[in-house]
Amino acid sequence: MRGTLAHFALLLLLGYAALAFAAARAAPAVVVRLGAVVQVAALGLASVDAVRVLMTGAPQRVALPFTGPFAPVALRLDPLAAVFVCALALVGLAVALYAPAYLDRAGHRMSGPALQALLSLLEASILAVLLAEDLVGFFVAWEIMTGLATAVVLADGHRAEVKRAAILYLVVTHIGTFAALAGLLLLLGDAPSYSFDALRAAAASRTPLVYGIGICLALAGFGAKAGVVPLHIWLPEAHPVAPSHVSSLLSGVIIKVGIYAMVRTALDLAGPPPAWVGHLLLVVGLVSALLGVLYALAQHDLKRLLAFHSVENIGIILLGVGLGISAQHAGLPTVAALALAAGLFHVVNHAVFKGLLFLCAGSVHLGAHTHDLEEMGGLLRHMPSTGRAFLIGALAISALPPLNGFASEWLVLQGFVGATQGSPGLLRATAPLFAGGLALTGALAAACFVKAFAVAFLALPRSENALHAVEVGPMQRLAQNALALSCVGLGLAAPWVVPVLSRVGASLGAGRFTPIPQTGVLGGLGVGSVQPAVLAVAGLALGTALWVWLGRGMKARATGTWACGQGSVDGRAAYTASAFSNPIRRIFSNLYQFERATVPVAGAAPYFVMRSKTRGAISPLFEEHLYQPALRLLRWTSDRFAPWASPSPNRGLVVFAVVAALLLTWAAS
């Protein structure tokens, strides 16, 4: 069957962008709102296709009425891509609802119509990447996507930190793209065309060494886009500085495109993956997950905190994918299907709750004019709807039942439980470590979101802005509530969704996956299909009854917070974000290398210091121990070539690029 809906979606988005640039000055408000309508329509259409593909399991071809410079542009929507299209659609719809009112008030330097146009183009380019069926189309769309993402990040390009973030983003992702391209070209070998089919066919004639180098380059390259540790350093810089609805899309979807490319390469294009690829992904996943959440805990800028959590969740997804590969080799095809499904489910879930949380962060910025948690406090009073939505997002990202984050994270954990039954080997030996690491990640994420929600929304305002915060408008609330509802819905629907997702692995053809049957217990893994719903309903009934009954005693009385007999509490007495994460930072002090210094400002030391000032700083681990030495190495290298290259890192980069390009040409020929 030929899918035309996704095709229309692409055309709609492109058409709107053209119109928006043309009419931006004439009627900006109309253009902005039209953009929302177009995005809703386009993503709605695309999602219809995606759901159909997922349900039937049959891929769809999409033909475009033009051809590319190297080959006919072929687009294809298969179940794997469909999962990501769903994620895009869910987040994109909410963003479309959210954007107009946000753009009216946010006051970004870039105009609303321009942002809407760029957003539409960005969504189109994501669709194109997901639908691409050949390397040229894929990388062209990929580069366009990167460029557009940089452009929207630069919405406030006059600010130095935004510029820095954009440059960092461009540099890292381009090195990544370059590596990925090199890797895929290596894998392609001397195949006759650049089509994916040619790549798949080339698997048979490849040596393990070429495969190894190729897959590593590709995974690292795409991993940079996904924000995998240690290639994540751009992510916490770039995502927070973008407009919040764009951050939603960046963190919710675009980094997932990196995951898409990794899964596509490892499980489809490069042929059946050997066990070590799975192990590699598991290790990388666990490191990303743990470091991501630990660094998130140390943040007090809400958007940076959320960005670091993206690193964490990418790690969880990779744990699922990695287990999906490793379990096959341990003789556990069902576990493999379950784990991959869990990973893909987490792709969608993370898109939904992270999109939600970034929208809420945007609303908080509109309402309280800050991203700094230390300047918030008590926002729930003024922004109840945003607060509720944020709470649901927080519960979801903390993997708490019955929400969607729980469903997917719990399934990954079940995968590791299943892995203990595998044939003896590395996976079975290390299963407890990964399970424990995943549980640690989840618990730390919960700690982090207790902090984020409580410090932002509970207790007392810590600044004038927080005191006078205002709730956002109805459309923005609708967008947030829609995503919040999706968190609940996906969580409760997990028993029905997971079997569908478990078929994706089998559809890829390069791996042994046994899908889970649609009904009943999931593959003997103890996941009753009724259970989440039963527990949720029972919990809701019991909880509501209790809540009502608890309030029906003597009439409740309002009073001041107990302040040990002192008059009252104020914001300075309440826990700050830094204070809250202090125990964890101390426990993991090896990773943080936190330094604090307190110096007197007024008074006579040492006994009469009346005022003092304290500063604490985390020395960035990777910047210090990986990137700095790398740069030093680069500098050193370029120093050796001093006669014909001045010792600047930029020049060094050029030299590096030229050398790499030469090597690549040699490899491809």
């Binding site: 009385r557 009073t559 001041g560 107990w562 302040a563 007999g565 002192q566 008059g567």
Partner: protein
């Protein structure tokens, strides 16, 4: 460290039965003081010596009455010193009651001439008796009798009462067996137990602490300071008894009251 437990089990329980009000008195132990001599000079000397202004001679209806206020008496024994002393130590606990006035014990004086002596207790009408305890429904009192959580507040004493309260947790007394426990938060408390004179710097804190307690709740003042100010009385720095600031449901005299008396006083307010 298991040996600590083994030793403790081997040594056995030390919790004592609640003695009667008169039982368990050491021969020398200070208790309450009763009138021993109506001699005016002895009374005058006692009033002069009394550091807490707890003794007075009142004239009511033409008859002279010696008054000793257990709500003020700090049991220093100065009034009972010497052979011709006006008062004697009777080795009984100081009085407890539901009002500060009920702690004043009166002794008719035979053949006493002359004007009133000592402080005028009638002027001292600061008794703010709480009716909250009396109003509590039987069901609440019954539940309090089975579970009573106490929040202690030192309003400014010498710390003696506090140490005695602390001793209630000693295994010999084991106040927990009566369903009584001390709690950290006023939110969890049923009784506010005040010791010490009401200092100026803690007045507002006392009010706030009471406000932080959920109703129904009771206030008990223990020790001479918490009832009247004891030796510290009223001054630029203090207001005297706790009932100058909040309504009180029960009073127990003593400086400091002994632990058994404290346990009995807690039971008294629940009756």
């Amino acid at each position: 460290m298991l040996n600590l437990i083994i030793d403790a089990l081997a040594a056995g329980r030390v919790t004592e039965e609640v003695p009667g009000p008169r039982a368990g008195w050491a021969a020398a132990a200070v208790g309450r003081f009763d009138l021993a001599s109506s001699a005016p000079e002895a009374l005058r000397a006692a009033i002069e010596l009394c550091p807490a202004e707890a003794i007075a001679v009142e004239r009511s209806g033409g008859k002279a009455v010696a008054v000793i206020d257990d709500g003020r008496c700090v049991q220093c024994g100065l009034c009972a010193e010497g052979d011709a002393a006006a008062f004697k130590n009777v080795h009984e606990e100081p009085a407890m009651g539901r009002s500060a006035a009920s702690l004043r014990r009166r002794f008719p004086l035979e053949g006493f001439e002359g004007a009133s002596l000592g402080p005028d207790f009638a002027l001292d009408a600061h008794d703010r008796v709480s009716r909250e305890g009396a109003r509590l429904a039987e069901v609440v009192l019954k539940r309090f009798r089975r579970s009573l959580h106490v929040r202690h507040l030192d309003a400014g004493g010498c710390n003696g009462c506090d140490w005695e309260l602390n001793q209630l947790q000693a295994p010999q007394y084991d106040v927990q067996r009566f369903g009584v426990d001390f709690v950290a938060s006023p939110r969890h408390a049923d009784v506010l137990l005040v010791t010490g004179v009401m200092t100026r710097n803690l007045e507002l804190a006392l009010v706030r602490t009471l406000d932080a307690m959920p109703r129904p709740r009771l206030v008990v003042a223990m020790g001479a300071c918490a009832i009247s100010g004891g030796v510290f009385g009223t001054s630029y720095a203090s207001r005297g008894g706790a009932d100058r600031v909040v309504a009180v449901d029960g009073y127990l005299g003593g400086c400091p009251p002994r632990p058994w008396a404290m346990i009995r006083a807690l039971r008294m307010v629940l009756e």
